[in-house]
Subunit: 214 residues, 4 copies
């Protein structure tokens, strides 16, 4: 006999099926809440609705999250982090090194605008709670920090390459990102038409270029 009773890990199969179920429930909960927050908003969504949509009982929600706000925080974090990643990509100096800076900048701005189309309802919630909910503000600031750093870093590289530069890189990073972020939000989360958006991308590119290029 070759041996041991082939028990427990049958071959990479899912161990501890309970955990699998648990993960599935959690996911269902996050998805249900995400969809509802997106559709209706945070205050307008009840914990009972989240449970129903996830196909579980109310009590189950509280087995996974301490309270309603914790669900929001998780979803907000994921959403915002996902957006931030897309932006961070466009900020890598390598992408700019041998390219036309104006083109790269426009590309960056364009990305900053289009990412606002991701989960707009949740992004609205971010702004809605930004000044009244410290947790939301802190979470957003934590996610923005690396972006500010990347912008600053990029500006320093541009200076080094002789294609631009600013007086105060920290301040520039903050002002640039904040400006674009909000211009994009107002246009994309409001209901702006395509022409307006196009024009804004162009104008914004000009504006930022005026600050950091040449």
């Amino acid at each position: 006999m070759t041996g041991a009773p082939a028990r427990k890990p049958p071959r990479g199969g899912p161990r501890r099926p309970q955990q699998a179920r648990s993960r599935r429930t959690r996911k269902a909960l996050v998805e249900a809440a995400g969809a509802l927050f997106e559709e209706r908003g945070y205050d307008e969504t009840t914990t009972a609705e989240i449970a129903r949509r996830a196909g579980v009982a109310v009590g189950t929600v509280y087995g996974y999250f301490p309270d309603k706000r914790a669900i929001l925080m998780e979803i907000l974090h994921d959403t915002v982090a996902q957006i931030a990643d897309l932006v961070l990509e466009r900020l890598e100096p390598e992408r700019w090194r041998d390219a036309d800076p104006r083109r790269s900048l426009r590309d960056l701005i364009h990305t900053l605008f289009t990412t606002r189309r991701l989960r707009p309802g949740l992004q609205r919630i971010v702004w809605e709670r930004f000044f009244k909910d410290d947790q939301v503000r802190e979470a957003l600031e934590a996610i923005e920090a690396p972006i500010f750093l990347a912008v600053k870093n990029l500006v320093l590289h541009l200076e080094e390459w002789g294609v631009g530069g600013v007086r105060d890189p920290d301040s520039a990073a903050f002002v640039i990102h904040t400006s674009v972020e909000w211009t994009a939000s107002r246009l994309m989360l409001g209901g702006a038409d395509e022409a307006e958006v196009e024009a804004a991308v162009e104008t914004t590119t000009d504006m930022i270029a005026g600050l950091i290029l040449a």
Copy 2:
């Protein structure tokens, strides 16, 4: 024509004392609500508190306003309009004609930043409700419209005077104002220190100058 319909011609005494009282009550209500919204926030203020602070009964509130939101709308409108006026002043072409454009610009930006210190609690409410309450959005947009126009007009003047110009004046007006407004809000309504603010004013001035000057 000899005149107005002489309704209830009171002899001597103050005309329509009721209206005077009424106006006083209304004012008390608006002031009470304004102070409470500023201190606590909109959702955190109850109509009962507003009435108590104004020294009237709850029911009386509904004799002057259809609902709680209407009080907010009035206050928000007044506050935002007041701020807009301060900004509009700085946008008058006369002020720019014979002055150093860079200086005038810096002055404008500075004004845009410092006006955020007016009734910050109410301004927070604006952003909190901007995307979730169409009435708030529309009211704000109505008030911003003349500003956009003034910015556009100014840019056109600058072009005429040969000190600047942009490709798309409408878009520029929107982008400029929106950018500065939000950068200022985040800094002033959050708790930024003086140095950060100073730096941001400088950087922002550089940025806008890059777009519209020279």
Copy 3:
């Protein structure tokens, strides 16, 4: 003309009818809650039931009391104070001066026992919450204080009159009242039969007599 329009106080009639209504509602609330607490117990009574029994909406309850516990505190206070008054009467030295001390004592003990028949359900709630709810404990202690004082005072009088006396009047007051109170509670709030109660009154009288008389 004799004068002023006979308005407002028509002649001792009820002024401010609103306050009358308010008082009525409050009373209905207290009575409803009292009856329910008595019948079912505190935890077993819901605020909705109280409102329904009082014939008002749930919200009305909170117009008169900050929370459910406040209703209990008021009722408990009233009930216990009422009982305390009955006991205090029997403790007045005048009642003892020219009477047979043994008889007066028996009378006192008897009163302490029979008062336990008043609102037994509420008295149960007192003991149920005594050690877990500081407010209840404090309220009870506040009401007991004058009783302790009266007992002490009585003992001092007895000593003066040469019919008794104890080593430590404060301690005696506490021990006497506490002992009788609990013996009575256990018998009357449990379901003791008449004979047991009679015997206990007699025995308790002997016991206290042994301590404070002759």
Copy 4:
């Protein structure tokens, strides 16, 4: 008959290891619950906490006890019985036969007071539930019965020895024990200082001595 049904004769090793484990789990559960009830109180302790503290799953609890209350009953029984044993010792006539009755009595009272220091949290639960939970009341009464009997028996011995006696030994037993028990509880489970306790012990001794001695 040759004997016992040789069910599953285990060779050598420890018999029914399951039962050993089972007993260990049960004990862990009782200890966990006991500690938590003592610390927080009954209502404030959840079954989930008990399970966690015992190191088992929630469901497991229900394999050993039909419900939460059953755990309490077992713990209460053990605790109260343990206290009762300490008291019963001091009530054995042998201890009193050749000793100074006053001394023995004081010793007994002292014991009745100090035993209230054992598991005070659980004793609080007894009083909290005494009138609302028939099972608790019955359990306590069952445990008190032998004490009442022992007190009665002691009183009869004292009478026989010519050092005391009462009219109604049954009633006396109940009154004595109940009085001391509650005086002690209020002092020891509340937060009385040492001096108060000492005085109460002395006074109580005087009081009981007045009833049963001489």
